[in-house]
């Protein structure tokens, strides 16, 4: 247990293990993404009420689900780096923020496009949509706050506090469709009880959710590797890698 803990704090070990994971995770992710999109767009029947516009579900829901999950990763990493001063947790937090922002952006944008033919409007200031917009600002806030400090240790602390404070937004997003009258429909997939979505639509959707989780993991690991190289650029192990791979 303690050896694993010790290794997790070791940048060269983390860099190497992330590289080993990425070698097979990136191809799997790409295949799953392409496969899921082709399945959802070409091989499913249209929704009986929404017609073909519902096909946006296969990118909208996975992006939103993983954008929320990514916030947990960022906030928990922030908490660990605040409490135990673990440097690698700070790396994880910084690596998660831009990916989460991109996923939240996808969820908002595809939601707006989907809203036009379905609700007759691109945008409404209702609880679900507004709280997702706040999520985007929280992610972008962490990215911007990190850049705003010259002292990176202070930057890490400020970002960790911001992401922890932002955690209040997460249950609001989850519960927004139940608490307030909203244009947005409640969840169709439930862990307890019957899902209100046909299996022929559910399976490609589940594949896409898995693919987006994998995508988040890939981007997180890749960002972490780049960040590790930058932070450790004065050390021997980075110089060795630069000597081997840094030529054009």
């Amino acid at each position: 247990m303690w050896t694993l803990f010790h290794k997790l704090g070791s940048p060269p070990w983390l860099y190497a293990i992330a590289g080993a994971i990425l070698r097979w995770l990136v191809p799997i992710t790409l295949v799953a993404l392409v496969g899921g999109m082709v399945w959802g767009v070409l091989f499913t029947a249209p929704d009986f009420r929404q017609g073909n516009s519902y096909r946006i579900i296969y990118i909208h829901v996975p992006a939103a689900v993983v954008a929320l999950a990514g916030y947990y990763v960022m906030a928990i990493a922030g908490a660990i780096s605040l409490i135990w001063r673990m440097k690698m947790a700070d790396v994880v937090m910084k690596a998660a923020a831009p990916v989460g922002a991109a996923l939240t952006f996808i969820a908002l944008l595809t939601g707006a496009i989907w809203g036009k033919p379905t609700w007759g409007t691109w945008w409404v200031w209702d609880a679900r949509i507004t709280s997702m917009l706040i999520l985007l600002f929280l992610y972008l806030g962490v990215v911007a706050l990190y850049e705003a400090f010259d002292n990176k240790e202070a930057a890490g602390k400020a970002c960790a506090v911001l992401s922890l404070v932002g955690m209040v937004n997460i249950p609001i997003i989850y519960k927004s469709v139940d608490w307030w009258y909203s244009l947005h429909q409640p969840a169709s997939i439930k862990f307890s009880g019957e899902s209100t979505i046909d299996p022929s639509m559910l399976y490609p959707l589940l594949l896409m959710i898995a693919a987006f989780y994998a995508l988040f993991t890939c981007c997180l690991l890749m960002n972490m590797r780049a960040e590790l190289l930058q932070r450790e650029s004065r050390t021997q192990w980075v110089k060795k890698i630069a000597g081997k791979e840094g030529r054009r």
Binding site: V26, L33, M37, V41, L42, F43, T44, A45, P46, G51, N52, S53, R55, I56, I59, H60, A63, P98, V99, A102, F105, I106, L109, T110, I113, W114, K116, P117, L215, C218, C219, M222, N223, R225, A226, L229, Q230, S233, V238, K239, I241, A242, G243, E245, G246, R247, R248
Partner: protein, 67 residues
């Protein structure tokens, strides 16, 4: 395939103008988040390698200068 023709796939009964841009923008954003860290890492390694070469040649010429 669900659609009868390529034409039907493109228009999707009038929903094609919503579905296709949504997918296109998503794919562009996904590519961007995948490529950004790769480029950042390559740039960093190139910089470091160039620095290494400079310090190496500096020490070599320094040794020659002493002789």
């Amino acid at each position: 395939m669900y659609f009868d023709s390529f034409q039907a796939l493109l228009t999707m009964n009038g929903h094609g103008i919503y579905v296709w841009p949504a997918y296109l923008i998503t794919i562009v954003v996904i590519m961007a988040v995948l490529i950004a860290p790769v480029r950042r890492r390559n740039r960093l390694l190139e910089q470091l390698a160039a620095e290494l070469r400079r310090t190496e040649s500096a020490t070599v010429s320094g040794v020659r200068g002493e002789q």
